[in-house]
Symmetry: C3
């Protein structure tokens, strides 16, 4: 089977950085190496957005895929470069929490040893091209992680932003605003259902001055421009507006508080 | 021959939606399935822009390509999910007119039956990932449309925006503004030539206060910043400015009226 | 080995132009033709930005890659269409300097003869689709450049913007601003080191009212928001700000003067 390598970066494509990285991959890999763009439009330096992206995307890919993720404000410093074995996937990127939301205790983490990459020069500002791409090409073509680095037990991680339950109020917040202006919260569907219990009709969501009194199943349930709340495609509660931007309507960005109430 | 699947969406790539869709495709298809990005930058919810895009792009692809098009504000509602056989291409997407400009009466249309996709869960907000991608993977690997849905005779369609001919005036309008600011109109080259007859030099185009008195063949015929009119690469009349944006110069957007006059 | 074709354009992907070009390539090439997107987000009409992009990207790709570059404000005019043999790469695009920074005197240049492409129609506004893509597909599948055009000795070129050394001052300028807001200058690392001689600590860089007194090795050496100067990943001096945009902080764009001083 042809090895598959995915790319997720904050590089944009106006600059040659993605092209250089692809050139390195396609130079080192064999004929059938397949490179798939996931995103190059992550917000610059936004490690948390990258972690959320990775959480949603990686589990959809087939076994043995190598995922390269480069959102790397600490490039060139002493931050380490990692290979993570997680289930049947391999992840390659900086040790800065981008993979945190895939960690479940079963992951095996290696610190890449650049000396094992051969005698090529390594730019202090572009490890995507000079470290992560060569490592990914070698992994995809069969090198074991242990040939490229040493196993480590301590590495950066963060926890998924928790909701806070206080009596009859569930306090959450907006953790991502997508292209449509949908406000994605940290409230998981399961958390909501166990909070509301049997009486799902009792759902009330409050964001600033706005109150939404029911949980919809899809966007077209509302009238054009009207706000609604629903379970999004990643299993998180989101606030949306039909064919409009909830973010713009509510002037709401990442970090905005949101609460769900049940009758007392 | 390796099956080819193209992707055209309004998802952008800042969010994980395209990545998730690709993961599903690459998980289900065999090794040699080829996924080609056409666009993920269509304007959100803009079904008409998507239909124009599809009209220009699909006919350029080889036989047996499967085209997935997801601009889908009605996702999760009762709008149907379609497979369209059109010539030797297969189209997969929502029943909301995105394929209209390819319809010529020869198309064969199927309503997808999600029950035939197996027992996977289907999000009410992301049929791209949960319905269209699995259907495309199955079609690309040889499943006949009739295995995934039932033939239907009634489906959404729209007609290409008509020009209006009144005496010596041809009334058209801007139907798309491209990245360069070129104003693409609904006036086809053939319509223009039969309207003008033998005397092509009589061409006069009026847009607001501006008059263009000749039909150019290419952009560099004008001086930098100067307006011109020509037959664009899709066979439609467009108003452009050399190395500048006609849209900005004329403050003209989609819908703007345009007229061509001939001497009375 | 499966032939590789890269695409670099200023088309964007909101419009169908990239899709049409890919359709032509995939229609003409055999099953295993591989098309790789490098960029479609170059600034419209910006030939110099394209030349810088090509300079950084092309050398990273394996032998026998065919690179299609379409930033082509002169399309349809008498500007020529080129095939360039450069080392073991093939370049296809307009004769407007986009390949200049790869020229080293060893290049062999052909003017494409559209008559040799067969009887297909050629739009006067879209040679990417109608000339460059068919040529690239034929080159990738083994046609020699001489079958598609005639060798020429005179073609457009520009020289890399020179620095100016006056006594103890090296005068350079910003030639590119990248997505992060890093200001990339025309001062090569080698030029800087020979200018400063042994005493690298003597480095002082001045941009407008701002002075940077040391050469860093990586971005994380500065405090968040602080300015620094370093050797970027293409071997050119750049001015950056840690996790911030130097371009915004300094209100500096392409063309901005920059100078490096040594003690007199």
């Amino acid at each position: 089977m042809a090895p598959l390598i995915t790319l997720t970066t904050d590089f944009g494509t106006r600059d040659p950085y993605v092209a250089e990285l692809k050139g390195v991959l396609l130079s080192q890999g064999p004929e059938a190496l397949r490179v798939v763009d996931l995103s190059h439009e992550l917000d610059p330096f936004d490690v948390h957005a990258a972690a959320l992206f990775v959480r949603a995307a990686v589990p959809r890919f087939p076994a043995h895929t190598v995922h390269v993720v480069v959102v790397d404000p600490g490039v060139g410093s002493r931050r380490r470069a990692l290979i993570v074995e997680r289930g049947d996937s391999l992840l390659v990127g900086p040790d800065n929490c981008v993979f945190s939301y895939l960690y479940d205790g079963s992951e095996v983490v290696y610190e890449i040893d650049p000396a094992r990459l051969g005698a090529r020069p390594i730019s202090a500002t572009f490890h995507g091209r000079d470290v992560f791409a060569p490592v990914a090409a070698q992994l995809a073509t069969g090198a074991p992680p242990s040939a490229l680095g040493s196993r480590i037990d301590v590495y950066e991680r963060m926890v998924f932003p928790m909701v806070d339950m206080q009596g009859d109020v569930l306090h959450g917040r907006v953790i991502h605003v997508d292209r449509y202006g949908n406000l994605i919260t940290n409230i998981a569907e399961g958390t909501l259902r166990s909070f509301l219990g049997l009486d799902e009709r009792a759902f009330t969501l409050v964001l600033g001055d706005h109150t939404i009194r029911s949980l919809s199943t899809h966007y077209a349930e509302a009238r054009p421009g009207e706000l609604l709340a629903l379970v999004g495609s990643s299993g998180l509660i989101e606030v949306a507006a039909r064919e409009a931007s909830a973010s713009r309507l509510l002037a709401a960005e990442v970090g905005r508080a949101i609460r769900v109430q049940r009758p007392s």
